[in-house]
């Protein structure tokens, strides 16, 4: 069995005495892994730790066989094998798109000027910003800035790609394009993405982890997550009594999640979002959390 690309071994993180990530043991293999959870659940903290952007309070983190918590040389070696897109990237506004990526490429130790510039050009094309090379960041739209930030994470051939809400600000076409790009990276390494878009998870991820209040609530395949909501989603003319959530669909019928099925209602196909809401609410009667 090949070693895992990234490992969190008994990792915790506290800020000012408050533990935001409780003891976590996780391993990441090749594929796309979706990280779901409400705001403040600890998703970004977990991603920062994996990306070596900050140290854990305790525990051990391994990336590409390098124990990043052991010391600077291991951490530097691990950083050569990963890429990271933080949730917010305040790209200096006076820089051009090309200059920003060139700077990040230098930080990623692309020493050969020609190869580095070709790589910058390649990732600009990947995110559809090839015609914005010479534009200053201040002249880019919010979505274009997000794509520019994303482009730096696509440089090279990383083993671990850590993306914090990569599809925020992207239109449907760009999101579809990004899914294609991430799939190709997942053939070679682990792509870990935190998102609020459950459709991205169902379309892209091999595995999904739900994090809530700094603890893992679910870890498994998308199919097994959706399976948790089997028999919990109903469509009918009335709202289920005690439904966790309900809304009127485009056909005028009411879709209810959980609760006691209303008279005349019929079961419906659950989605990732249904299962996520059920896990979050601990409303899975008879199902382990």
């Amino acid at each position: 069995m090949s070693p895992q690309i990234a490992v969190l071994d008994g990792v915790t993180k506290s800020y000012g005495g408050a533990e935001v990530l409780h003891r976590t043991d996780l391993g990441f293999d090749r594929g796309v892994i979706g990280l779901l959870g409400p705001n403040g659940a600890g998703k970004s903290t977990m991603l920062r730790l994996l990306a070596t952007a900050m140290p854990p309070t305790s525990g051990r983190i391994v990336v590409s066989d390098h124990v990043v918590t052991d010391g600077s040389p291991d951490r530097t070696a691990a950083r050569r094998r990963l890429s990271y897109l933080p949730q917010e990237v305040g790209i200096p506004r006076r820089m051009t798109s090309f200059a920003f990526l060139d700077y990040i490429a230098v930080l990623k130790e692309w020493k050969d000027t020609g190869a580095r510039h070709r790589e910058v050009n390649r990732v600009l094309g990947l995110v559809g910003l090839e015609d914005r090379r010479t534009k200053r960041v201040s002249a880019l739209s919010g979505g274009q800035r997000r794509r520019l930030a994303l482009a730096q994470a696509l440089m090279g051939d990383p083993d671990l790609v850590v993306l914090d809400e990569p599809t925020t600000g992207l239109d449907p076409e760009q999101r579809a394009s990004l899914r294609g790009i991430l799939s190709s990276y997942a053939d070679r390494g682990a792509v870990l993405l935190a998102t609020h878009q459950t459709e991205d998870v169902s379309a892209l991820c091999d595995r999904v982890i739900i994090l809530d209040d700094g603890r893992i609530r679910f870890d498994g395949s998308v199919a097994s997550l959706i399976g948790l909501a089997d028999g919990q989603v109903w469509i009918g003319s009335e709202v289920n009594a005690g439904a966790l959530s309900s809304w009127r669909t485009g056909t005028g019928e009411i879709r209810s999640l959980g609760g006691v099925p209303a008279a005349g209602s019929r079961p419906a196909e659950p989605a990732v979002e249904d299962a996520y809401l059920l896990v979050r609410s601990a409303n899975l009667i008879g199902q382990p959390r």
């Binding site: 920062r48 990306a51 070596t52 952007a53 900050m54 140290p55 010391g71 600077s72 951490r75 530097t76 070696a77 950083r79 050569r80 990963l82 890429s83 990271y84 897109l85 933080p86 990237v89 305040g90 790209i91 200096p92 006076r94 820089m95 051009t96 090309f98 200059a99 920003f100 060139d102 700077y103 990040i104 230098v106 930080l107 990623k108 130790e109 020493k111 000027t113 510039h117 070709r118 910058v120 050009n121 090839e130 090379r133 010479t134 930030a149 730096q152 850590v162």
Partner: protein
């Protein structure tokens, strides 16, 4: 149009197999004949065209480095280091800050009573290099988290920026001090306090952003000068005892920086 490129001539042209005279004739014709241009384009090796086009795109997109960096490149600065310095605003901003500082000292000093001139100089001169070091981090602070996850040595970035901005700020302030009649021996007395404040700024940058660091260092130094002034001890700054005290403070700041570096914290964030 009296003639067009036949298949044989087209092949020989695209293979680069024509003598100069024929090649020129073909190219003159191509300028005027869209049909033959289209035929020639189809023959052109696509990989080569892609490479050339990419080269053109890169050449036009690559930002031109400021002249001081071009000069440093000629003196042996590595291209990657030049990119780092170029991104950090570490040339123009320190230069501007130093000039403004020297201007304030010069003009402000002549407008103030003789007793206050020394206070003014001692307030600004040691502070300028420290502030310019902090300023060199301001531009890249917003991507601090992103930069932290990259393998490039954060210590190297710190040294590059510090060396560059101090090399710019130091001569400006020193020359201003020597040129101003009211400064006298203080032109050199500020060097050790300045070293202390610069090392302190670098240490604080391992915790805080550039703007916070600049404010803390400025307020701290303002307080020191204020206390000395109220005790009417400003002249004590250039005494051997005071200079020794500043040297000890500089060593302490250096030790604090070393401790932060060995615990994986560099200016600009987690190392």
């Amino acid at each position: 149009m009296t003639w067009h490129l036949g298949p044989e001539l087209l092949d020989r042209y695209s293979d680069g197999d024509l003598d100069l005279a024929r090649q020129s004739a073909v190219e003159t014709h191509l300028l005027a004949c869209a049909d033959c241009r289209q035929l020639t384009s189809a023959k052109a090796p696509q990989d080569l065209l892609t490479d050339i086009w990419q080269g053109v795109q890169i050449a036009t997109a690559r930002p031109r480095m400021p002249w001081p960096l071009r000069l440093l490149r000629k003196l042996g600065l590595a291209e990657t280091d030049a990119v780092i310095l170029s991104a950090s605003s570490s040339l123009y901003r320190p230069w501007l800050l130093s000039l403004v500082g020297a201007f304030v000292i010069g003009v402000g000093g002549t407008m103030m009573p003789a007793t206050e001139q020394r206070s003014l100089y001692l307030l600004f001169a040691p502070l300028l290099p420290a502030i310019t070091v902090a300023a060199a981090y301001d531009a890249t602070d917003p991507i601090r988290e992103l930069a932290a996850a990259t393998p490039f040595s954060k210590l190297r970035i710190a040294l590059l920026r510090t060396a560059t901005v101090v090399a710019i700020a130091l001569p400006v302030v020193l020359l201003a001090g020597l040129a101003l009649p009211f400064v006298g021996a203080d032109a050199f007395a500020w060097l050790l306090p300045s070293l202390t404040l610069t090392l302190l700024a670098l240490t604080l940058l391992t915790w805080w952003t550039a703007s916070v660091t600049a404010w803390v260092v400025a307020v701290l130094w303002l307080t020191v000068v204020g206390i000395l002034r109220s005790a009417q001890q400003l002249s004590a700054v250039d005494t051997p005892f005071a200079q020794l005290a500043f040297a000890v403070a500089a060593l302490l700041a250096l030790a604090a920086l070393a401790i932060r570096l060995t615990t994986h914290h560099a200016p600009g964030g987690y190392a």
